[in-house]
């Protein structure tokens, strides 16, 4: 965006207040999740770290606009169907998901695992697309749209490896505040993952996300670094032992990411 450079100091102040207003309102909507379907004002305040009067004002506004539904009996709010009109219907058409899907599905079937395409949103990874293996009954319950953590997942760490230095530093700064005394250990693991991605193209996380689940991931960098995503593959340690990941699955995942990136750049 070029516009802000040319604006006066007065509009900079206005910009800051707009950014604050929008990000507060949206942080209230994103406080809700599949685990937290109903939330009251104090719970929202605790999750968003906003003052309670601000939260009360915004929940009232958002329910007047139709995005939150208030239950007088529960004295709590939940997201209403109107939220689905906020661009959600458009995402099914994303080129990247359509193009990546067949190859990801074939990969998932061939190694009895879950294959997921992820994007970063602050310290969370959002599953843009997930493909479950058709050949096993037991599979991880992860759907498109669900969240994981950047710091502790393979596809989060692979994505960090591809970020420009400055952006990664900013993320590390936020992580150190979020994870506090766990941070030094996490930082060492993330640094190792970044070295692994540089050396082998992929990084591995063993049993950290869930016990007995191993995961491997590669960054997916699109169109002149305009978009940085990652592809991860996770499954039971029985099907994905470390040796197999290192020798076969990791290198194949690198190829998969290259193929998807190439197909996408042909399109644009």
């Amino acid at each position: 965006l070029d516009a802000p450079d040319r604006q006066s100091a007065a509009t900079d102040g206005k910009d800051r207040s707009i950014v604050a207003a929008v990000s507060r309102g949206l942080s209230i909507l994103s406080a809700f999740s599949e685990r937290d379907i109903w939330l009251g004002n104090s719970e929202i305040a605790a999750r968003t770290r906003l003052p309670k009067p601000t939260v009360s004002r915004l929940t009232r506004t958002l329910s007047q606009l139709g995005y939150l539904h208030h239950s007088p009996r529960r004295r709590q709010y939940r997201l209403s169907v109107a939220v689905l009109a906020l661009g959600y219907g458009v995402l099914g058409n994303l080129d990247i998901r359509k193009i990546a899907r067949p190859a990801m599905q074939a990969f998932a079937d061939s190694c009895n695992a879950l294959v997921a395409l992820g994007a970063r949103e602050r310290l969370d990874m959002i599953h843009l697309e997930t493909c479950h293996s058709n050949s096993t009954m037991v599979t991880l319950r992860v759907d498109a749209g669900s969240r994981g953590r950047v710091a502790t997942t393979a596809f989060g760490r692979a994505l960090l490896a591809a970020l420009p230095e400055e952006e990664r530093k900013a993320v590390f700064e936020q992580m150190s505040q979020q994870y506090r005394n766990q941070w030094p250990k996490l930082k060492r693991e993330i640094d190792q993952a970044i070295r692994d991605v540089r050396q082998h193209g992929f990084c591995i996380v063993m049993g950290l996300w869930q016990p007995d689940i191993n995961a491997v991931a590669v960054p997916l960098v699109l169109r002149n670094r305009s978009e940085i995503l990652s592809i991860g593959c996770a499954g039971s340690a029985r099907y994905l032992p470390r040796r197999l990941i290192e020798k076969e699955i990791g290198p194949r995942l690198v190829e998969l990411a290259q193929r998807v990136a190439a197909e996408l750049s042909v399109l644009t």
Partner: protein
């Protein structure tokens, strides 16, 4: 829309009269910014390619500089993504997360979707479950047929009332006075093919009276056939609407209408499933 505008205008007037106008005005500005940012996200349609800043400003009626500020904010928060360094904008990953949280919170994903998927398989049609919201239908779950061209109906699609099967099924559930109100609105806004709108709606209402479903053939989109039926829970709940359809070159009006009775049975099954799950409380 106009009601909202009036509401915010009167809020400004109240703030100007109050003794301490500063914080009240600031709070009102914040509400307006938030509402506009959400309107930007609503401006995207499934058939769109990425939108430029100018297109977003046009669709939302925002001045270019305001649109630029809000787009920048939405981009930072992951609600918009940019396609290429100088390309257009489209909804970002945070939108997906938000949509996922809604579909998980509502009982439809668990209760209705499996039944809809079976129907889509058996009849090779697209199936959509919608809820009425602010004079529109929002699709809350959809099931895709095994082999059929995409008719651009999916969870999150927003459908007009006058010329879609789901919209007509919703109008049928309304008391006469409210239905007439909508008809006047359609006439003012030109929704639903002008002069052909009333006879088409009368026919749809009559069809719903005697067979429980209605047609909307080649009217919302020229090449899409649809049929719809309401799922009426009780007065406390929103009416839900169920429909199925296909492109007009993959099915015929006759073949689709033959699915009508099965669609009405599916609506009953979904209703019973929702009642049994007990999750309708507060829906």
């Amino acid at each position: 829309m106009t009601k909202k505008k009036r509401a915010s205008a009167s809020a400004t007037a109240t703030a100007a009269r109050s003794k301490k106008p500063q914080p009240a005005v600031a709070a009102n500005d914040a509400v307006v910014s938030l509402r506009k940012a959400l309107e930007i996200l609503r401006a995207f349609r499934p058939s769109d390619s990425p939108l430029s800043r100018h297109e977003i400003a046009q669709r939302t009626g925002l001045p270019n500089t305001t649109a630029a500020r809000l787009i920048h904010t939405l981009l930072t928060l992951g609600y918009l993504s940019r396609v290429g360094a100088h390309g257009g904008y489209r909804p970002g990953p945070s939108v997906l997360a938000l949509g996922h949280a809604v579909t998980e919170a509502l009982p439809f994903h668990r209760v209705a979707l499996p039944l809809m998927q079976r129907f889509a398989q058996t009849h090779n049609v697209w199936v959509a479950l919608g809820a009425a919201e602010n004079g529109q239908i929002i699709v809350v779950e959809h099931a895709a047929p095994p082999q059929a061209p995409d008719i651009q109906i999916r969870t999150g699609s927003v459908l007009p009332l006058a010329n879609t099967a789901l919209g007509r099924a919703y109008l049928w559930t309304l008391p006469p006075a409210r239905r007439a109100e909508h008809l006047r609105r359609f006439e003012r806004s030109g929704q639903g093919d002008g002069a052909k709108m009333r006879p088409a709606l009368d026919a749809a209402m009559a069809q719903l009276d005697h067979s429980g479903y209605c047609n909307a053939f080649n009217c919302w989109r020229r090449d899409v056939l649809g049929i719809g039926t309401p799922i009426v829970m009780d007065a406390r709940h929103h009416a839900l609407l169920l429909g199925c359809g296909n492109a007009n070159f993959t099915t015929s009006p006759k073949a689709l209408a033959a699915c009508g009775p099965a669609l009405v049975r599916l609506a009953t099954d979904i209703k019973n499933g929702l009642l049994q799950s007990g999750s309708l409380e507060d829906v």
